[in-house]
């Protein structure tokens, strides 16, 4: 499903974020990418979502070599992913419903389908009563769950999460962990970049540890 082989990423200013990283993830696996700040966790996720391109080595997702991807093909690759951001990155000028509907509008679903799927996704994260609520009126934990609803509404094959519990209380973090587990149980490949040890203990996933851009285990 996902394979990194000898991947090195050097940023234009010379900083080497990843160095000779190789690993393979099967479909339906759950992986935890951990390491201290600046170890290269975020860079690894960016390479996966074709936001950055590797300097050397190859990243293959679903049989596609992302380094050789034409710019026109990038949007279609990204539709295979659900992205959960630490900062949520919700759009504050529209309701919870419209935030979650965005990936479906982008993919060109009909309005009827969008209604059904958005409600199902909101139900899944426990926000069904908040369809018309504006994101600003939601708590931090609710905003994070809304972000998750947006990430899974189009039923992606891979869920990528960057520090999903970074700003949350412990109780909220546990419920978020349970959500990730339930998606993994229905076959979604889940990759979480985090140094939250509680979350790690809760999910007991495969662990990929980075240190100074290199793979430790």
């Amino acid at each position: 499903m996902i394979s990194f082989s000898h991947v090195t990423k050097r940023y234009p200013e010379g900083h080497e974020a990843l160095h000779d990283v190789s690993f393979t993830l099967g479909a339906g696996e759950m992986a935890f990418v951990t390491g201290h700040s600046g170890a290269g966790k975020t860079t690894l996720l960016k390479l996966l979502a074709a936001i950055e391109r590797p300097t050397a080595g190859s990243v293959v997702v679903n049989g596609q070599n992302l380094g050789a991807l034409k710019p026109r093909a990038v949007p279609f690759l990204r539709r295979n992913f659900g992205l959960v951001f630490q900062e949520h990155r919700l759009l504050f000028d529209r309701s919870a419903f419209d935030n979650v509907a965005l990936p479906l509008q982008i993919a060109g679903y009909s309005s009827g389908d969008i209604g059904k799927r958005v409600r199902a996704a909101l139900d899944k994260v426990g926000l069904l009563g908040h369809e018309r609520t504006m994101p600003i009126a939601l708590s931090g934990g609710e905003q994070q769950r809304l972000c998750i609803a947006r990430a899974i509404v189009h039923r992606p094959a891979v869920l990528l999460a960057d520090e999903p519990t970074g700003n949350l209380d412990a109780d909220y973090a546990v419920s978020i962990g349970q959500l990730f587990r339930s998606f993994n149980q229905v076959g979604v490949t889940v990759v979480i970049a985090s140094h939250d040890q509680t979350l790690r203990a809760q999910l007991a996933p495969r662990v990929i540890t980075l240190k100074n851009g290199g793979l430790v285990s």
Partner: protein, 306 residues
């Protein structure tokens, strides 16, 4: 195909929502553009009306040539000239006014009988008044230049010189309208370009998130293009209303006066062809300006992943 309609429907709806969502900002943009469009359209309307007026005037005043013979021309010369005029296909009527007849008429009409009587000899020449079948300015000119070279002809005068001058002025006017229209078309495109660029910058978050979750550039561009086209279309509509209002006011204020003075000069409303061209060109320019802004600015907005 269905998806295509869905996507375009959404693009259009998003554009309309953006338009009605910020009515004040949209209003000012629309005003700027509609004034820019109303100027050339108004000028065009005035010009068109003048042209119609000039056309009528040319027919009504039936332009004629006056041929003045030289003072030493004798009756043979006059007969010869009369014959030559009769041979021209374009000449419909020839009226001969002898110098004695002309002097009599002058005496009667001018009230200068004493002065004229005191003249040692008749200063007036013999003259022909020639009417043409096809009184176009070009035909008049050709004929005048031809007759000018005949023997014993002193001077040929075209009656409708003022109509010709008007025709020349109209030609200058049409050129001015074309220049004006080009300039204001550029204004339209520039205003749309800037509006869309600002819109993209305020929507930066939305565009970045949309790109991250798989939006193509076309998806992001679509509502912006519709917005540009809408801006042009609405502005063109308002420009049309402005010009129609101006024409109505002019005709009400000056229509009576021109009737009193015996002329029937009225402004015409811009015709359907002009209106259609205006709407289509304005929409296309709005679309084009938006396309330029969107393509340039979206490319500059690199996805920043946090």
């Amino acid at each position: 195909m269905k998806t295509w309609f869905t996507q375009h429907g959404r693009g259009l709806r998003a554009a309309v929502a953006r338009f009605t969502g910020a009515p004040l900002g949209a209003l000012f943009n629309v005003l700027v553009i509609s004034f820019a469009l109303a100027l050339p359209l108004g000028f065009y309307a005035v010009l068109n009306s003048l042209q119609t007026f000039a056309g009528h005037a040319l027919v009504d005043s039936a332009p004629q040539l006056r041929i003045y013979m030289a003072l030493d021309a004798d009756s043979d010369d006059i007969a010869q000239t009369d014959q030559r005029l009769g041979q021209d296909d374009n000449v419909s009527k020839v009226l001969f006014v002898s110098r004695d007849q002309a002097l009599r008429e002058l005496k009667q009409s001018s009230g200068l009988a004493d002065v004229i009587d005191s003249l040692p000899q008749n200063p007036l020449p013999d003259a022909f008044i020639v009417s043409l079948r096809e009184p176009s300015p070009a035909a008049l000119e050709t004929l005048r230049d031809g007759i000018q070279t005949w023997p014993h002809v002193a001077h040929v005068q075209v009656d409708s010189a003022w109509a010709q001058r008007l025709d020349a002025l109209l030609r200058i006017g049409r050129f001015a309208v074309a220049v004006l229209a080009t300039l204001f078309a550029a204004v339209l495109a520039a205003v749309t370009f800037n509006t869309i660029r600002l819109q993209i910058l305020t929507q930066r978050d939305e565009i970045e998130v949309a790109k991250l979750i798989g939006a193509t550039d076309a998806f992001i561009r679509r509502p912006l293009l519709y917005f540009g086209a809408l801006l042009g279309l609405v502005s063109a509509g308002i420009a049309w209303l402005l010009v129609s209002g101006g024409v109505m006011l002019f005709n009400r204020e000056f229509g009576a006066w021109t009737q009193l003075s015996g002329s029937l000069f009225r402004l015409d409303y811009p015709g359907p062809a002009a209106i259609f061209t205006l709407l289509a060109v304005a929409a296309a320019l709005g679309w084009g300006g938006a396309w330029l802004a969107a393509t340039r600015t979206i490319a500059l907005l690199e996805v920043e992943y946090k």
